[in-house]
Each structure stands twice: as C-alpha cells, then as structure tokens.
C-alpha cells in the first residue's frame, strides 16, 4: 500500500502549490464559463421568485420535487468528507494523506449547496429565511422546535460551521508555506491568514491534536445530520414509504456511499487536472474501492430491510406504493436504473483489483453510483407523495419544469466552481501531511524482501 516516490520538501511545495502560485491556463477559461452558468441559474431563480412556485412542476399533492431530492443528494455527498477524513485520521490510515482535504472541501461546498435548496430555492420566499432562527424578538413568534423542519437547519448549521472550521484549522500551516513563497499583496494576505504560524513543536502538537479532537466531535454531528434529514420524511406519518423506523441509518449509510464515491470522482479530477500523479496514486483508488465495497454492502442491507419492512406490514397503500415504484412506468425503469447503477454494477466491478486500480474506471463507476443515489432519493420523495387518495382531485403527477432542471444542474456546476476557486487560493492537498508521510516512511527487511513500512504517528 505504499507506492510513493521519494520527494523533497521543495518539490512537494512546487508541485502542490503550482495551482496557487501560477495557475493552469485552463482555469482562466473554465472558471468564467462556470460563473456564466451559475449566473444563468441565478436568473432562473430570480424568475421563479418573481412569478412564484407556479413555474415549477410542483402541484397538489406533490409539493416536494427535485429541489428536495437535490437537497438530500447534496447532504449525502457532504457526508463523505468529514466522515472519511475523520475516520481515516482517527485510525491513522496512512493512505488518508492526499484525500483528507478533498473530502473535507466536498463536505463544505456540498453542504452549502444543499442548504440553498430548502433555504432559499424551494420555499420560493427566500427573504423569510430568518423565520428559521429564533431572533425575531419584536413579533414574539418563534420557530416551532417540535418540527423536524427546524431540527434540520440546526443540524446543518452545526455541521457546516464545524466542517468549515475543521478545514480552516488544517489550512493554517499551509498558509505559512504560501506566505513564505509569495510577495506583495499576496504575501500580506497569506501572512494574515497564517496567523503568524512558525511551526514550533507546540503549534504542531496542537495541530495534530486538533485534527483528532475535531474529527471526534464532528463524527456525531455527521451521523445526526442525515438522521435528521431522514426525519424530515420519517415524521410525516401519513405518507407511505416515508415513515420506516430504519430511515435514519438507511439515509446515513446511503449518504456515506454517495459521498465516498464523490471523493473518488474528485480525486480522479484533481489528479488529471493538476498532474498530481506523485500524490494521488492507484493505491489510493484501490483503498477507496475496498472501502466502497463494505459501504455498498451495508447500504444494500438497509435498503433491502426498508423495502421488506414496507411489504411485510401488508398495508394496502404501502404495498401499492412499492408496486408503483417497481412495476409502473416510468418509476419501474428508474428503479432498475437506480439499483443497477448504485449497487449491482459497482459492487461487481469493485471486486477486481485491476478495476480498483484503474483510475478512469473508478471515476466512471463513482459517477454511476451517484446517478443511482440521486435516483434513489427521487424514488423516495416523489412516488411517496403521488399515492392515490380517496378524493380524485388530489391524484396528480409530477414533471420537473425547465426552471427546476436548470437549478438542479447548476448546483453541480456551483460545487465545481467553488472547488476551483478554492484551488486557486488554497492548496487542495495538505502539504504538511504529505511531508510527514515522506519522513515517517521506512522499509523493513522481511526474509529476502524489503517491504514498505510506516511509523505510526502519535
């Protein structure tokens, strides 16, 4: 598991800071293009605010459409990050080094994107977002803490604040490296951001303890966030398919599956875009592939249980919902696409080491997994609300409108844009972590072979 090459600190600085100090040419072409797309989506949102939610496909009885699907999807992606980073840090997994910051960033930006959907897009009246917070003293009307829709913002706010601070704390030593390699205004900015970091044993000790302590504090938040998101559904006892007691762990493991797959996507893109072949190596994809096998199996177990519990109750509406999800078009086709792309194709291919070490294949499979996981959320949200009720005027279908599709597609562009903007200013791979890995590595003679080893850091 250690195929790294010998690298000097100077070389690590040069290669990992190249994007910050010089910047690839494609960055200047790609970023304005992405900004234009995001501005276009902002116009679509403006149009929606002006005309009202009637421009969406939402109508009785389906008031939660692809905006909420996308919210759950991005919350799921955000789980990869800190979970992966925290568990790998706590377990001193050596292969974590190039993956941690990418994973943490994915958490921050996807959580920001997720929060926009229920916060300023789906409600249609973003100027009333402050109703979620308990500060409107003049009216004396407060948020109802008994509602799952208030638990949700409190959990997301905690997770977003915590994971952002987690990234910032780990960035301080890297800011010092940039401070030492820049001049002029850039130097002043990095000097300010590095807070006067000098790299004393005390500062390093605190940095290491901080990583472990914040990881330990963020893990319970991570579990709670998607549990609470699942309760947005689970507390609505009148909607079939939404109130399974197993929803919380089922959502959490689904989030981890889609999130870790997204880390694979991001790492492959980082390797190709910045030519970081020395740092992001096939062994990392191999390790992530093995981890994904375990996560996917766990997810499939919960998925099967959730489905089986629904059928086992033998309640007419629940059974007819499952029949609709599986056998009625277009839901049946979407169901088959979801289960094959999220589970059967990936789990089969990940069994082979050759596949796990093939970065292009791992990249494509990770995209497949997330197509499947997006569809999974769609199949939870929409068919559940579509069920037929005694009064025919509440029978309805749902087709997403161009405004909804634009905003959902733009959310992917927005996350990419945020990562690219971050990459221009801050290093995407923690330099000190890579340097530490270089110093702590060793080789051990076992019989006639020399095997790579690593000293466990404390």
């Amino acid at each position: 598991m250690q195929e790294r090459v010998e690298l000097s600190h100077r070389q690590i600085n040069q290669e990992l800071l190249a994007a910050n100090l010089k910047g690839p040419r494609w960055w200047w072409l790609l970023v304005p293009a992405l900004v234009l797309v995001v501005m276009g989506a902002a116009s679509a949102a403006g149009y929606m605010y002006n005309r009202g939610l009637g421009v969406t496909g939402l109508n009785r009885p389906i008031f939660w459409g692809i905006f909420i699907v996308n919210f759950v999807f991005w919350i799921g992606i955000s789980h990869a990050g800190v979970m992966l980073s925290a568990i790998l840090r706590l377990s001193h997994a050596e292969w974590r080094r190039p993956a941690t910051r990418a994973a943490e960033l994915l958490t921050v930006f996807s959580l920001m994107t997720a929060a926009m959907f229920p916060g300023i897009i789906h409600p249609g009246r973003p100027w009333r977002i402050y109703w979620t917070f308990p500060f409107d003293f003049s009216r004396g009307i407060w948020p109802d803490v008994r509602s799952a829709l208030i638990w949700d913002p409190s959990a997301i706010f905690t997770y977003l604040t915590g994971s952002t601070l987690f990234v910032i704390i780990a960035l301080i030593p890297d800011m010092a490296v940039l401070r030492d390699r820049t001049t002029g205004v850039k130097h002043v900015i990095y000097r300010f951001l590095s807070l006067g970091w000098r790299g004393t044993p005390r500062q390093w000790k605190l940095q290491i303890v901080a990583g472990i302590l914040l990881s330990a504090l963020l893990l319970p938040v991570f579990v709670s966030v998607h549990s609470i998101v699942s309760w947005d559904f689970g507390m609505a006892v009148s909607v079939e398919g939404w109130h399974a007691t197993i929803f919380a762990p089922y959502f959490v493991i689904g989030a981890v599956l889609s999130g870790v797959a997204a880390v694979v996507t991001m790492m492959a893109l980082m390797r190709w875009a910045f030519h970081w072949e020395h740092y992001i190596r096939p062994e990392h994809f191999d390790a992530l592939g093995r981890l994904l096998i375990a996560i996917a199996l766990g997810w499939f177990f919960f998925f099967s249980l959730e489905f089986m519990f629904g059928l086992y109750s033998l309640e007419g509406p629940e059974v007819s919902l499952r029949q609709m999800q599986m056998f009625q078009m277009p839901w049946g086709a979407l169901f088959i696409t979801f289960i094959t792309t999220a589970f059967f194709i990936p789990i089969t291919l990940w069994q082979f080491k050759r596949v796990r070490r093939n970065i292009l294949l791992m990249f494509l499979i990770s995209i497949l997994v997330n197509i499947g996981m997006w569809l999974e959320r769609f199949l939870i949200v929409v068919p559940g609300l579509m069920r037929k009720q005694p009064l025919t005027f509440v029978w309805g279908g749902y087709t997403p409108s161009p405004v909804e599709i634009t905003l959902v597609v733009a959310s992917f562009i927005f996350v990419a844009l945020m990562v690219l903007l971050f990459a221009k200013v801050f290093p995407l791979i923690p330099l000190f972590d890579i340097k530490e890995g270089q110093v702590l590595k060793d080789e051990v003679q076992v019989g006639r072979v020399r095997v790579p080893a690593v000293m466990r850091e404390e």
Binding site: S8, H9, R10, N13, P134, G140, I141, W142, P143, D144, V145, R146, S147, I150, W151, S154, A155, F157, T158, T161, G162, L165, I168, I169, I172, A176, V177, D180, R181, L195, G196, W197, R198, G199, T200, P201, R202, Q203, W204, K205, L206, Q207, I208, V209, A210, L213, L214, L217, L218, P220, V221, S224, I228, F432, K435, E436, V439, E457, E458
Partner: protein, 168 residues
C-alpha cells in the same frame, strides 16, 4: 542586559537535536529557544521538553455552554409563545433533546477551535527571526539569549552543524 535573537538553520533532524543539546550545554533554558519546522515531528524528536496543553478543557466548557444556551432557547421560545401543535406538550423533551444535542456539539467545536488558536499562541503579530527555508525542509533553532552570549550561542549552533546562523 538586552536580549538578542539567533536563528540556526539545520538541514536534518539529527543536527538540529545536536543544536538543542549544545544550547542545553550553554545553560540556555528551554523557555528561551524554539524549534521551527515545516512539518510535525514526533514529540521530543529534538530533545525538547514535551508539550503540555489544556486543550481538552475547551470542548468540555463549550459543550456545557452550548447545552445551556440550547435549553434556554428551546424552552424560552416555546414558553413565550405557547401554541400547541400536533397535540404535543409545549416543552417536548425529545424535540428539545435534538436541538440541544446539536447546540452542545456546536459549542464544543467552537470552543475547541478557540482553544487550538489560544493554546498554539496564535495569532502572532510579529514572526520574529525566521527563514522561509523552514517551510522547505530546513529546521530552524530560534534562540533568545543575552547579548554577551550571542557569539557563544552562534558558535554552539555552528558547531552542532547549523548550515547558517543569523541574528538580529
């Protein structure tokens, strides 16, 4: 006697550890020197005393504050506008527990971050005697000594293998 700063730059950890030994030999207290590196080394790698800190107190205090604020806000807001919804009690413990859980952890995280910055002795307005090569793999040994010991300290650092020694 005025204090002066000396910085010795070492290429590897062994010679930096020799530098620390040389300073000890001169009777310089560990409070008067600092090792500057571009990456974390194991505690005591240079023969310096182990770092003591009280970081673990911060999350505990933060958690207590977060919990207190959460109970105050959830109970206070519901009691100030007591509207029954869904037949639930005004003070619904399971619902309050969820928000309190989040606020407790938020408090713990915020205080931990403050603790990290405080215990790391940051922010530091002046870098003092420093060299950018430290973030390139060199190990710096920054010493604060009496002016009369300046020459001896420089000699000691050079003798231990410092590639360059500078002072202010």
């Amino acid at each position: 006697m005025a204090k002066r700063s000396v910085l010795g730059l070492f290429k590897d950890a062994d010679s930096a550890a020799n530098g620390v030994d040389a300073l000890k030999g001169l009777g310089i207290s560990p409070m008067d020197y600092d090792i500057l590196t571009g990456m974390p080394y194991p505690d005591g790698a240079f023969g310096e005393p182990h770092t003591q800190h009280k970081l673990f107190v911060f999350p505990l205090v933060g958690a207590i504050c977060g919990l207190a604020v959460a109970i105050l806000v959830t109970a206070g807001t519901q009691l100030s506008y007591p509207m029954v919804t869904g037949g639930k009690p005004i003070l619904s413990v399971p619902a309050m527990a969820i928000i309190s859980y989040e606020a407790t952890l938020l408090g713990a995280i915020l205080f931990t971050v403050l603790g990290i910055i405080f215990e790391s002795r940051l922010p530091r307005m002046q870098l003092g005697l420093y060299d950018p090569r430290i973030t390139e793999g060199y190990i710096g040994l920054a010493v604060s000594c009496d002016e009369r010991l300046l020459g001896t300290t420089e000699e000691a650092l050079k003798g231990a293998g410092a590639e360059e020694v500078k002072h202010n």
